[in-house]
Amino acid sequence: MQLTVNGNPVFVHTGGRDIAPARPAIVLIHGAGMDHSVWSLQSRYLAHHGRSVLAVDLPGHGRSGGEPLGSIAALADWVIALLDAAGLERAALVGHSMGALVALDAAARHGGRVEAVALLGVAERMPVHPDLLTAAHAGEQSAIEMVIGWGHGPRGHGGAQGGGCPAPGLALIPGGRRLMASVRPGVLGVDLAACNDYGQGADAAAMVACPVLFLLGALDRMTPAKAGRSLAACVKTSQVVVLPQTGHMVMAEAPDSVLEALKSFLSLSRG
């Protein structure tokens, strides 16, 4: 689905079904240097279980136009503008990594528009290693290698105890590498800087009135589960699910567990 938000064309994947007023909306917000396809193992299910799905390509990402926005607050405001453009009063927000900070910030400052929030791979602060920031700004391949390498747990990296993508025949690390390689030059650096600069996580969490689900990878090296739990403690109504043997790329590494948690949290049923 194509929308226009703040004058720029925006692509929204709807999970194979058009959005409809009868089905409450859920906005899926990807992380740094990625696009809507990171939700490919969830979006179609959600769309066939009672939800209008809007898996967005953030500005400058994927099939959306415009330039990447330089702060989490700007991205959060953009999500609300997206709801306006889609004619939606309220939606549940589900975000991963940078997208989780966006969902959190939107829920804190636009509480009346947000029904519920699910945060995947999240922490109060997401400081980015200086070498990664430098490489991302320079557009070097090593930036992608760092994000993909640090981002995946044993299901991606393999090894004696790991290995085995939940989706038959797919290979997680090459898949992630290709997705990030398709992102336009400069975008990853802007995204990572936005994550690095965001310091309002705890304050935002305290302002959120709606229920919040935290989906954390037990082996996440980028946003450790411990940091996610600390953030959850700042929220009035939170639920924490820690996924074993899972790194930062929770949707790809543990797709069924993510779906089951969302199904329970959002009371999804087929329809």
């Binding site: 290698e145 105890q161 038959p168 690390i173």
Partner: protein
């Protein structure tokens, strides 16, 4: 400078795609000989059938044992995903059927496996898919052969049986200028010697029967998606970028991003054409892949020794060897390209010409006597076994080609193709020596 660590090729050959079986702790990959999988509930069943969540339904479409091999081969090649098939021929067919329908056109190297040539030249035209064959060194010819309806460029890293080396990067660039992908049959090189995605290829296929399996036990194939080709930007591939009624209007490129091709190949191609790999065969091939790095080192070591021996016979000037072709030889037309593309070795296939005696008949007769005199090399229609093999292509693998097509494929009547195995090299050379003597005696 900080950096992420990734497991390396030899380690991935042993481990990628697998963990100890969670039910039993089995270290080896279990052979899941089951046709189907119990659904946890009705909703899960419906979701699996509608591609809403990943998982196994029926072993024609996916199987846990086969999935380990698929993920391992995708990892070794650096691809986003793979689909294993009943044979290499099934892999080629699956790739083509996923990309095009009637009216489609392929530009293929003229130096390819005879079975692939048969499929493209004689069988697919019945289904409305035409192929133009171009010599793999004729880059301008490849460019000129591309038509508006062309949907694929296809070649082998090492031509079969002429051992022409395809300039993968340049051919990929030509294909991409036209908005179409390059499919490479990388059977002869395996990911140990060449990873075509790193040179610009978009899709890779193998006959797993050969070096990947390595022991001549199991038939199988694989097609691997590099995940880099932009189907949407090309605009020539409606199977990947337009709604598909077979799954309630799914748009594979929109849904799966870099994995669009391989998702459709499985969801439609295996579902409908059904040329799946048996889990038993997947297990056999996995055993081979575990030792791929070790075996390839041995194959290359022996191949280089045998090339040295044949060169010696050739240079002696009075023996039965008329010529020797191996891409590492300085007089091979693709020597420089092979040095760049295949730094770890140019495979273990060697071609040479057998010289007729002039009394006992021509080269065809000398070839017959040579092959029948061999005691260690096995005369059969395969390559890439741990055992050394020999064949006379003009009378076997390429027998369907007429004289003109034989010449275009670089196959002379005097050509002998050796697939060098892992025996002691001195034993192989002794066998070749006595068979060459027998061939020249007339």
């Amino acid at each position: 400078m900080a950096g992420a660590k990734f497991l390396k090729f030899d380690t991935q050959s042993l481990h990628a795609g697998q963990k100890p079986d969670p039910a039993t702790g089995a270290r080896a990959v279990p052979i899941h000989l089951t046709s189907s999988y119990v659904f946890s509930d009705v909703d899960q069943a419906a979701a699996l059938f509608n591609l809403e969540r990943p998982g196994h339904i029926y072993s024609r479409i996916s199987n846990p044992t086969v999935a380990v091999l698929e993920e391992r081969l995708a990892t070794l090649e650096g691809g986003v995903g793979a689909v294993c098939t009943a044979s290499g021929q099934a892999a080629l067919t699956l790739a083509i059927m996923t990309l095009m329908g009637a009216g489609g056109h392929i530009v293929a190297s003229s130096s390819i496996y005879g079975g692939s040539r048969n499929l493209l030249a004689y069988t697919l035209p019945r289904f409305g898919i035409a192929t133009s064959f171009v010599h793999p060194r004729d880059l301008d010819g490849i460019r000129a052969a591309i038509r508006p309806e062309t949907r694929l460029v296809f070649g082998e890293v090492l031509g079969n049986p002429g051992l022409e080396v395809l300039d993968v990067a340049k051919v990929a660039a030509i294909a991409h200028e036209a908005g179409i992908p390059l499919l490479i049959d990388s059977t002869f090189t395996t990911p140990y010697l060449c990873r075509p995605f790193e040179h610009g290829a978009d899709l890779v296929m193998h006959s797993c029967t050969k070096w990947l399996s390595g022991h001549g036990t199991a038939i199988g194939g694989v097609v691997i998606d590099g995940g880099r080709f932009d189907w949407e930007a090309s605009g020539k591939f409606p199977t990947l970028t337009e709604p598909y009624a077979g799954y309630h209007g799914i748009d594979f490129a929109e849904e799966y991003g870099p994995a669009a091709f391989i998702a459709r190949a499985r969801a439609e191609g295996l579902r409908d054409f059904g040329a799946c790999m048996s889990p038993m065969n997947a297990f056999q091939i996995l055993q081979g892949v575990e030792t791929l790095p070790l075996r390839m080192k041995g194959h290359i070591h022996n191949a280089r020794k045998i090339v040295g021996f044949l060169e010696g016979e050739l240079n002696a000037g009075k023996g039965a060897v008329a010529w020797v072709s191996y891409p590492e030889l300085v007089d091979h037309p693709d020597h420089a390209l092979a040095a760049r593309l295949l730094p770890h070795g140019a495979g273990s296939i060697i071609s040479f010409g057998i010289r007729g005696s002039g009394q006992g008949g021509g080269s065809r007769e000398a070839g017959r006597r040579f092959i029948e005199a061999l005691t260690l090399f096995s005369h059969l229609a395969n390559v890439g076994d741990a055992k050394s093999l020999v064949i006379h292509p003009a009378s076997t693998t390429h027998a369907q080609l007429d004289a003109e097509a034989l010449a275009a494929a670089g196959v002379g009547e005097d050509m002998i193709r050796l697939s060098i195995g892992l025996e002691d090299c001195e034993d192989l050379i002794d066998d070749l020596k006595q068979a060459l003597r027998a061939a020249t005696k007339g």
